[in-house]
Structures are given as structure tokens and as C-alpha cells.
């Protein structure tokens, strides 16, 4: 074929005569280490104190002239030790760290008991409206009627969903809400002159915060055994009742992901014995919109807005733990709270003397987590009562789907359907040389945040999986495929996949034992650190 010369007006494109293969040439060897320390697009990072240098500080101010020191020789002579970085260096440092993080915005976060559900962006948009974001807690109430309106509406929703008389919005997290509820119980007992009632019954599957709260309030804790089906042992409860019982702290659904089906009887028993019923509402997300705790005989319950009502948590925080109270406990609700005046305006009752009840006191300096109130109310209004009910149902459905798909590969801790989380024990790992911890580490290699492990304590080697309603079936199927693959590998003797995991994470297996026994709590320059080691 003779070469044809292009002529003017010819539409033939110039031929690419560079010619290069674009597919990778097969390489069966290990990936080479890099000169930079980066692994592809994952950049190397070091601590900000190791990165910084004073001569790279982003802000360059001239020396201040004509200032006479009044510190009388007490002025600091050494460097403050602050790292010096330019703005792009500071930004890159934190972006690189964020790339090593795991988040619900990145993938499924099946951390049981924590309810890592999606944080809707609409919530964020509302919380950033200047009328909510830019108000000051000390502003006159006449200038923050909208913000007080959010608190009032949120209170209405919480009272309606729980079937209770009143709500204290101010507690700032779940445990703080527990404290609020138990202080209300103590105040009610004291008001009746029942100061001898100081024993609180707590099931052995309880969150650790329950007994801690009771002790903090001056109660003593008496443990109730679990029945073989993972629920409260009613006969043990009956033997523990008595004249000195202040109340019971019960989680429902409980930490095994099971509904305490005897809850009405438990409530009646505790009331007949003269005590109050505190319900740990951490798992309200399984029943919200379907069951009203007030109908079950509950006297006080905290609600984790950061779980059930999708406000951020797990580092994105802060938490918020409003506590609903029954008719019996409502008069003891702490200040501040919102009231509607005769002219329809909203006001804040700030002082115990201004209350028509008997507030036990005040738990926070101001109103509580205002930003979380806005987000939670946004979630409620965007879902509606029917949507909240469906969210609860979908959370339960998703957990049961996971349990049903995994039960032939792993061992469910209890028979039957679960509520919003699926609990497995480690009996299926027996003889494999793989522990619950190893299995969790291998999940990191699969791209998942591990499930909650070794909790609840009543289940050996517990693995507690809470998918939440946020996950689609496709997402659950992908998770189940990974879990099934891992379970089969463990049983097939592929032990090193687990005992050395994680292999693919930016940071490998950490020595938790050494970190707990010999914690290094303060950064020291490398030179000093080596000196310390030498000593």
C-alpha cells in the first residue's frame, strides 16, 4: 500500500503514531514499595507537630513595636511548641487524616447498640439557618421566639410519640438523660418521705451506664438475672422486690436486640412494690411510632436524639438525651423548660421558684443542644408520624434479614426474630483459631466498620449487628456476602486472614493491651521519646 499524502481540504485526521499499550502488563510479584511512602493516592501522614516548622507558619506578622511588657520577667522564654504550617499544609493534613477515617457517609456502619443511621442533609440545612445557628443563649426571649418554637414543637413530638406527660429537653446525651430520669425518681421518693428506698434493680444485660447512673444518684444496684431466652428473669425479679426498692432500670428492646415481652407485668410489679420504672430509651428507634412507652407503664425514659432521630454522633456529635416523664414524675422536671404565655408568646422558665412544679434543679447552663433540636425536629417533620413508624419497622426488617441470611453460617445468640439488631455468639468459631476480635478486624479489610463486639456481656464473644433502616437491600446483600465469605474462610482454616487482619487498612492491628497497660498520653519530640525508651 503506497503512502498517500494529505492534501489541502482532506478530512483525514493525523494518525497516532506514538502507539502505547494502555492495559497493565501482568505482574504477579508484590507491589513495589514507593519512594514517597504514599500508597497510590493515599498520602503519607505524620503528626502535625512532626509536620510543622515555625518558618512555614501561614500568618506572617511583623514584630510588634513600642510595646512595654508588664509581665515583670514572667514572660515565656521558650517556644510555645505550636506547629507552624502554611494554610495548604494545614488543610492537607486534616484532609489526609479524614481519608483514613470511616464514616456513615462512606459505607455501612453496623455498630450494634449505636444506631449509626444516615444523617439527612435536610437536617443540616435547617440547623444552619441563621435564625437558629446565630442566636445566643442569653438573647432576650422576645428575639428567639422561633428557636423556642422549635423546642416547644420538639417537646410536643416527643411527648406524643412516647405517651408521656412531660419532657426535659436539656440533658446532653443518653447517660445524662438517665441521670435526669433517676434524679426525678429520687426527688419524687424524697418528696413522699420514702428516703429508705435506695435499691435500684438493673438487669445484667444493661448498658453499663445504667448501674453507673444509679450509683451516681446515691442508689445501690441490685442485679437481675437474665432468663435463657435473653430477657429478664421474672422469678428473679420477684425475689428482689421489697420495701427498699426505688425502681428498676430496664432497656426495651434490650441490649440483646429482644423485646422484653413481660414489660407490662414488670411495670405492674415494680409499681405494686412502690418503685418507679426507668426505661433506657437507647433502643427506641426499634419501636418509635409503634409503641408508646407511656402505655407500657414507664415513668421516665431518655431518648437519644443522636440515635433515633438521626442527629450526628460518633465524633460528629454532640449527643442529646431529652428525658420524658410520666404524670407521677412530671412535677420534678428540671429547669429550664418552655411554656406558652396567655398572649400566645413562648417563654422559658429558668428558675425553680418560677415553676408551678417542684423541679429537682438544673442540669445544663443554658437550653441544651439547640442544634440537635433543630435537626431532630426536621427529621420528625420530614418523616411524619407514619414515616417514623416505617423507619422503625424497616430497621427491624433489615436486622431480621441480616440474621436470617447469616444464621446458617454464624450462630444467633437466641432463637426467634430479633428487633433492630441481630446478635450472634462465637460458638460457631469454636476450634477455628479465630476469635470475635480477629473476625472484626477482617471486616475492616472488607471495607466495613466492625460490628459491636463482646457486648452485651451476657453473650460469649458477642457480635452485635445493627444495620439500621438506612441500608437498601442491595447494600445489605453486599454486607451479607462479605460476612458469609469471611465465615466460610474461618471455618475452612484460612486463619491468617483473620489473625493478621487488617491487612489493607492504613493502620494495621493495634496492640490494645499495650496501649492500655502502657498508655502514651502526651506527644514528645522524637529525640525525647528515644531518651524515654532508653531509660
Amino acid at each position: 500500500m503506497s503512502r498517500r499524502h494529505a492534501e489541502e481540504g482532506d478530512l483525514v485526521m493525523a494518525m497516532n503514531n506514538v502507539g502505547r499499550p494502555t492495559a497493565a502488563i501482568a505482574n504477579n510479584g508484590a507491589a513495589p514499595t514507593t519512594f514517597s511512602g504514599a500508597r497510590g493516592l493515599l498520602q503519607p501522614t505524620s503528626l502535625i507537630f512532626e509536620t510543622g516548622s515555625i518558618d512555614r507558619t501561614g500568618v506572617d506578622l511583623p514584630p510588634v513595636k513600642g510595646v512595654k511588657t508588664r509581665l515583670g520577667g514572667l514572660a515565656r522564654k521558650s517556644s510555645t511548641g505550636n506547629p507552624g504550617l502554611s494554610e495548604p499544609e494545614a488543610v492537607r493534613h486534616y484532609v489526609r487524616l479524614s481519608q483514613r477515617n470511616y464514616a456513615i457517609d462512606l459505607g455501612m456502619f453496623p455498630l450494634g447498640s449505636c444506631t449509626m443511621k444516615h444523617n439527612a442533609r435536610l437536617n443540616e440545612k435547617m440547623a444552619r439557618l441563621p435564625g437558629f445557628a446565630d442566636v445566643h443563649p442569653l438573647q432576650p426571649v422576645s428575639t428567639v421566639q422561633g428557636a423556642l418554637g422549635v423546642m416547644d414543637q420538639l417537646s410536643h413530638w416527643l411527648i406524643t410519640l412516647t405517651g408521656m406527660k412531660a419532657v426535659a429537653l436539656s440533658p446532653k446525651a443518653g447517660a445524662h438523660g438517665e441521670l435526669c430520669g433517676m434524679l426525678a425518681i429520687r426527688a419524687a421518693l424524697d418528696a413522699q418521705g420514702q428516703t429508705h428506698r435506695r435499691r435500684v434493680l438493673v438487669p445484667e444485660s444493661a448498658h453499663g451506664t445504667n448501674p453507673a447512673t444509679a450509683v451516681q444518684c446515691g442508689f445501690i444496684v441490685d442485679e437481675i438475672k437474665a432468663a435463657p431466652d435473653g430477657r429478664v428473669d421474672l422469678s428473679d425479679l420477684k425475689t428482689k422486690l421489697g420495701e427498699d426498692v426505688a425502681g428498676i432500670m430496664l432497656t426495651n428492646p434490650n441490649t440483646c436486640g429482644l423485646f422484653e415481652r413481660d414489660i407490662r407485668e414488670i411495670a405492674d410489679l415494680i409499681h405494686a412494690a412502690g418503685g418507679y420504672f426507668y426505661c433506657d430509651g437507647a433502643n427506641f428507634n426499634a419501636i418509635a411510632g409503634r409503641v408508646r412507652p407511656g402505655d407500657l407503664g414507664v415513668d421516665a425514659m431518655h431518648i437519644n436524639l443522636h440515635k433515633t432521630f438521626s442527629t450526628p454522633h460518633g465524633g460528629g456529635g454532640p449527643g442529646s438525651g431529652p428525658t420524658v416523664l410520666s404524670d407521677a414524675l412530671a412535677p420534678f422536671a428540671p429547669v429550664p423548660y418552655v411554656v406558652t404565655r396567655a398572649d400566645g408568646s413562648l417563654d422559658l422558665v429558668e428558675h425553680e421558684a418560677d415553676s408551678d412544679g417542684e423541679p429537682f434543679g438544673r442540669m445544663v447552663a443554658f437550653h441544651g443542644q439547640m442544634g440537635m433540636y433543630t435537626r431532630a425536629l426536621t427529621y420528625m417533620l420530614s418523616h411524619g408520624a407514619d414515616g417514623i413508624k416505617q423507619a422503625s419497622e424497616d430497621a427491624v426488617l433489615n436486622a431480621n434479614y441480616v440474621q436470617a441470611c447469616l444464621k446458617e453460617h454464624m450462630s444467633p445468640a437466641f432463637d426467634g426474630v430479633c428487633m433492630h439488631e441481630a446478635l450472634f455468639d462465637d460458638s460457631w468459631l469454636e476450634g477455628t483459631g479465630v476469635t470475635t476480635l480477629d473476625f472484626a478486624k477482617a471486616m475492616i479489610d472488607e471495607g466495613y466498620h466492625p460490628m459491636t463486639m463482646y457486648f452485651p456481656l451476657v453473650v460469649h464473644g458477642a457480635m452485635l449487628i445493627e444495620p439500621t433502616e438506612s441500608e437498601s437491600k442491595a447494600s445489605l446483600d453486599a454486607f451479607i456476602a462479605s460476612m458469609t465469605g469471611l465465615a466460610k474462610a474461618a471455618k475452612a482454616g484460612d486463619t491468617t486472614r483473620f489473625t493478621g487482619a487488617p491487612y489493607h487498612a492504613p493502620v494495621k492491628r493495634l496492640d490494645e493491651t499495650r496501649a492500655a497497660r502502657k498508655p502514651v498520653l502526651k506527644w514528645a519530640p522524637p529525640v525525647e521519646a528515644s531518651k524515654i525508651a532508653a531509660e
Binding site: 463482646y454 456481656l457 490494645e512 493491651t513 492500655a516 497497660r517
Partner: protein, 123 residues
């Protein structure tokens, strides 16, 4: 010297009126690596079943109960600096407390080694 065991996996070894107490090797194994041990003050009077110490591992924090009633006359200070001593020798040098017995008859109701072993086998 007699050694007895509780259902909560404590052991108690008696010489004269002094009872040395600790957690069993089974308990230490179940807890995993022990990272912290909280011991009582010397002179504290405890009743059988009272919380007398706390043992914390990478998995969980657990109460340790007094297997018998008595006065705390000594504690194993070495565990404060080296809690791994519990994992290394739970039933000897990893002891927690020494109690001066107030009611030696309580020992009779506790399990001996054979009974404890069969109790473990049934778990």
C-alpha cells in the same frame, strides 16, 4: 492449705486464719489480657459476696467478689504496675487480696477443685 472456688470464678486459699484470694485461670482466660486491677484499701471489712476488687481487660471490666468474709490485711501491689501477672499466674502469684477470716464456716459451702472442674465442664 485448702483451696476453694466460687461460681463467680474466684479462688480462696486458706492458711491459718488468712485467706488468699484471686480469680481463677479460667476467669483470666475468659477476660483476655488484663490491663488494670483495682484493689481495696487495707483494713476494709468485707462480707462474703461483696465487691472487693475490679479487674479490667481489653474486653470488659468485671467486679471481683469476696469469696469469704473478713478484713483486708494485704493486697497484691505488684498487679498495679504489672496487671499481666493475672494472666501469667492467676492462681498463684496473680493473687488479689489476703483476708483475715471472720467466718471460716463459709468455706464449707464453696467448691473444691473437683467440684469446680465439673462446674466448668458444664458451662
Amino acid at each position: 492449705m485448702t483451696t476453694k472456688y466460687t461460681k463467680d470464678h474466684e479462688w480462696v486459699s486458706v492458711a491459718g486464719d488468712i485467706a488468699t484470694c484471686g480469680i481463677t485461670a479460667y476467669a483470666a482466660d475468659q477476660l483476655g489480657d488484663v490491663v488494670f486491677v483495682e484493689l481495696p484499701n487495707i483494713g476494709r471489712i468485707v462480707s462474703q459476696g461483696d465487691e472487693v476488687a475490679v479487674v479490667e481487660s481489653v474486653k470488659a471490666a468485671s467486679d471481683v467478689y469476696a469469696p469469704v468474709s473478713g478484713e483486708v490485711v494485704d493486697v497484691n501491689e505488684a498487679l498495679a504496675e504489672a496487671p499481666e501477672g493475672v494472666n501469667e499466674a492467676a492462681e498463684s502469684t496473680g493473687w488479689f487480696t489476703k483476708l483475715k477470716l471472720t467466718d471460716p464456716a463459709e468455706l464449707d459451702a464453696l467448691m473444691d477443685r473437683a467440684a469446680y472442674d465439673s462446674y466448668l465442664a458444664g458451662l
